[in-house]
């Protein structure tokens, strides 16, 4: 026992374990400054910081308007991506995308024998994948989870509302491993009719987006702030795309859609069964721009603090 402790003592003795005094003090000052600004409400922000935030916002809005027509064109052709973005700060993922109802698919393509639009491979995960790709092209690292919760349910013989309990574990684990995440999105295919789920813009059709929140989430207020911010951004940049925020009060086990796990968690439905993959893709390219804008603003706010 003694000898063993001596081993650790030996290691300690032969290691520089004391931090430099200057470093200790400067870090303390730095942290104090950060703490002060982190919890400062907007009205306490110093004027220069406020001005620069304003400036950046106007500048990006301005840019957005200038590039609007080009961007729409790019969305249509599905190739181009705008490139103005802040450098990646830590090169870590900021967005987590998953699909609780992994096999949701689209009628026009893949209707199964029961007349239900579900498919094991050609399904909503393709839409999630496209969103992840678009975000990566905008330099936002993204985790796209394609765990097939529908199959897991079958294997375990659980009823379908339990899907959210299965995906919950995945979300928990991912949050634990990636503390820097800023957005957690559960992407679904909606179930409204084509008329309600489709936007026609100059003859080009897009799937509409709906943000779904659970009122049972213990973080509902934070969830709502986040969803409102996304909705407002969509209304400004791409009017008509967002069908708005839907609040659900759950009666079942699917309860809070895992939104109690994270402030910026949202369930997003994209289009409906009658939409085509192409329409879905056009829409998620647009959604990527919105998330990109949101994340960059978060950073800008942090950098100017």
């Amino acid at each position: 026992m003694n000898e063993k402790d001596e081993l650790m003592e030996f290691i300690k003795d032969n290691h520089d374990l004391e931090p430099d005094n200057d470093f200790v003090l400067s870090t303390e000052t730095h942290l104090t400054r950060m703490a002060r600004s982190q919890y400062t409400k907007p009205r306490y922000i110093q004027v220069p910081a406020l001005l620069s935030v304003l400036f950046i916002c106007t500048a990006s809005l301005f840019l957005l308007f200038i590039t609007d027509s080009r961007m729409i064109h790019e969305i249509i052709s599905g190739t181009g991506q705008t490139t103005n973005s802040l450098p990646m700060l830590y090169n870590e993922p900021y967005v987590f995308i998953y699909h609780t109802h992994t096999q949701e698919s689209f009628q026009s393509k893949f209707t199964n024998a029961d007349g239900k639009a579900v498919d094991e491979t050609l399904n909503i995960t393709l839409v999630g994948k496209r969103l992840a790709d678009s975000l990566e092209a905008l330099q936002i690292r993204t985790i796209h989870d394609t765990t097939d919760f529908a199959e897991l349910l079958n294997k375990k013989g659980l009823p379908s509302p339990h899907a959210f309990l299965l995906s919950r574990e995945k979300v928990k684990q991912t949050l634990q491993e990636n503390e820097q995440l800023l957005v957690v999105a559960d992407i679904h295919r909606g179930s409204v009719s084509r008329e309600a789920s489709t936007l026609d813009k100059n003859g080009v059709t897009y799937a509409k987006i709906e943000l779904v929140l659970s009122e049972d989430s213990s973080r509902h207020e934070e969830n709502l702030l986040f969803a409102q911010s996304l909705h407002r951004k969509m209304e400004t940049a791409f009017p008509g795309f967002s069908r708005g925020i839907v609040l659900k009060k759950s009666q079942s086990i699917s309860a809070n859609y895992n939104q109690d796990l994270f402030p910026n968690a949202v369930l997003i439905t994209i289009g409906g069964v009658e939409n085509t993959l192409q329409e879905e893709y056009r829409t998620v390219d647009m959604l990527a721009e919105i998330l990109h804008e949101y994340i960059n603003e978060e950073f800008t706010a942090r950098l100017t603090r």
Binding site: L7, L17, T27, L31, Y39
Partner: protein, 179 residues
């Protein structure tokens, strides 16, 4: 205004109470002062960001160290890539810099201890530092690593064996402790 002051004070309190432990941990983990300073800062910056979401379920110290662990492992992951690159590329360049001084430094006990630690896998390294250097109890270590207590015991034991054999190999340990 009040909450602002409170949080600021809270942060300073945290920092003063824990910087030494955090520094020791990341210093052992990374093996050099520069990285240790960067990592210490990063740990406290992450902590500050996550402070509002701290739910009090785990003890504060455990919570801080699970953040430190993540930060250190991220660092390790990033570095591994650049190390592989440097080794394969720069080893091909002829070296003319190794004078007697450099050689003496290479044999420095500290360097050997650092190297022995850096050769451990991240899991071994983490558990060795937490238990051996930071002197966390088995239960606390288990909470930080989200392992079972049995696993902590076993892995710690193996990590000790490995570092012991490495130090033996370099003749250091035997010399230092006469049996």
């Amino acid at each position: 205004m009040d909450t602002e002051c409170r949080l600021e004070n809270e942060m300073i309190e945290f920092y003063q109470a824990h910087y030494m432990d955090v520094y020791r941990f990341v210093m052992c983990y990374s093996g050099n002062r520069e990285d240790a300073e960067d990592l210490t800062q990063e740990v406290f910056i992450r902590l500050l960001r996550k402070l509002p979401s701290y739910d009090g379920r785990s003890s504060l110290r455990t919570w801080i160290f699970s953040i430190a662990k993540h930060t250190a492992i991220d660092h390790y992951r990033k570095n591994r890539f650049s190390k592989v690159f440097k080794m394969s590329f720069f080893n091909l360049l002829p070296s003319n810099a190794k004078g007697p001084c450099a050689l003496a430094e290479m044999n420095d006990t500290k360097t050997i201890v650092h190297e022995a630690i850096s050769k451990l896998t991240p899991a071994y390294r983490t558990v060795l530092i937490l238990r051996g250097i930071n002197e966390f109890s088995i239960r606390e270590t288990a909470a930080i690593l989200k392992w079972s207590e049995a696993k902590v015991k076993v892995v710690y034991h193996r990590a000790r064996k490995e570092i012991e054999s490495q130090l033996n190999e370099s003749q250091l340990w035997k010399e230092a402790i006469p049996k």
